[in-house]
């Protein structure tokens, strides 16, 4: 079998404007990071709320959050994405549905869909981490807060969550890295993120090995950089004398 190696392919013009193929990787990476960061905001906010609900003494709030986690963790991400992409828009009010389908570009539509999908998917996982973090704190902490006369909301806000978040930085970091990796499913609803751009390059140039190698290495490099960055953050935020759980 013949295969023509050509590592110079990335600097060749694509034929579209003055772009070279390397530009596709850059725009793909930007799209990946954009989707991942937007989804992370949703995941962090919703996941924290759900995690607090899971840790509350009342049964109802805890059950609702528990059901959410069960639902979003037991359906494959790809199926969830297709539900958001093919099913949900038809259930929305007409004006919103039309806006999604007609008024905005397909790419923007895909971006919004993927962001919501990944955000809600990851919220279930963040919820479990937040709950674990809160439950890892000694019971005396919330009692001490309450004994000082703080209302429960303030106990969470000022006593429990600041400690819990420090404990769960390592697992949260890996959840963020997971969002970046999971965002690659967006290539299946035509969002031009990193994997989609890599595949497009494969189709255009027939230099599959080079394209996939570089695409993979970009994911790898982003992962490594973020991991080292978060280790550094974790060290800076460490409270002297406080033992971190789940740290390495």
């Amino acid at each position: 079998m013949h295969y023509h190696w050509d590592w110079g392919v990335f600097f060749k013009p694509t034929g579209v404007g003055s772009e070279i193929y390397l530009n596709w990787f850059v725009s793909g990476l930007m799209m990946t990071l954009g989707v991942a960061l937007s989804a992370w905001v949703i995941a962090l906010v919703l996941g924290t709320v759900l995690g607090v609900m899971r840790s509350l003494p009342g049964k109802i709030a805890s059950r609702i959050a528990g059901a959410y986690v069960d639902l979003f963790r037991n359906v494959p991400l790809l199926v969830q994405l297709f539900v958001w992409y093919y099913v949900i828009p038809d259930w929305l009010p007409d004006n919103l549905s039309n806006w999604l389908k007609q008024d905005i570009s397909p790419v923007t539509n895909a971006f919004i869909t993927v962001t919501v999908c990944l955000g809600l998917f990851t919220a279930a996982r963040v919820c479990e981490q937040v709950r674990t973090g809160i439950q890892a704190l000694p019971k005396g902490q919330s009692n001490a807060g309450l004994a000082l006369g703080l209302p429960l909301a303030q106990v969470y806000r000022h006593v429990l969550l600041p400690q819990a978040f420090r404990i769960i930085i390592p697992p949260l970091t890996s959840e963020f890295l997971n969002i970046i990796k999971n965002s690659s499913v967006a290539s299946l609803v035509a969002l031009p993120e990193l994997l989609a751009q890599t595949k497009q390059l494969v189709d255009f140039t027939a230099n599959q090995f080079e394209a996939y190698t570089v695409g993979t290495l970009i994911y790898f490099a982003v992962n490594m950089l973020l991991m080292f960055f978060m280790r550094w953050v974790e060290k800076r935020l460490r409270v002297p004398g406080l033992i971190a759980l789940g740290g390495k």
Binding site: V75, P76, L77, V79, F209, G215
Partner: protein, 222 residues
Amino acid sequence: MLHFSDLQGSLPGLWEGMKVTLQMLIMAVLGGMILGTLLALARLSHNKVLAALGGAYVTYFRSIPLLMVISWFYFAVPLIIGWVTGTNRPIGAFTSCLVAFTMFEAAYYAEIVRAGIQAISRGQMNAAYALGMTYGQTMRLVVLPQAFRKMTPLLLQQSIILFQDTSLVYAVGVLDFFNVAYSKGNITGELQQYILLAGAVYFVISFSASRLVKHLQKRMTV
């Protein structure tokens, strides 16, 4: 809203798809666990080169998306097998995906197995060595049987994740359960119904399986 014109007619096809999904799952779980165990042993080995190679493998596969691996292997596995064997026999998408899942999941299983081995006290290894056992015997007869018992819930949990992840073979056209459901939906014009149906089926299986694992975990800790 969830009206199917001919669900009964679709059932045999869906069942065929489910068989493909389960076949992929079982083979990838077995392959992944075996490769993962070897990787874990490599990472814990006193041989620095072996440990570094094992570590690099695990770190690498854990930092790239599964879908990327599936897409890449879909085209690379047939080429590589062709180069190695010198033949031009076509390799199906199923085989490529199986190789991708096995190699990818092995990295995740390896971390579970490594933690399991490290949880067995040094004294157990010493006792086995003191009885004259070799490294291989110590691992096979004393350490791994205990480690696997402790790890069973985690290994099963990871396998449930893998079960869900098998749906990604849709990307390269393997007719697994999800892809069959999607195609049926496209043909009959009832795409939404079929997607929701697929979601419900995945949910029921994963949910019951994880409940079983939780139950098992509780029983084991007693």
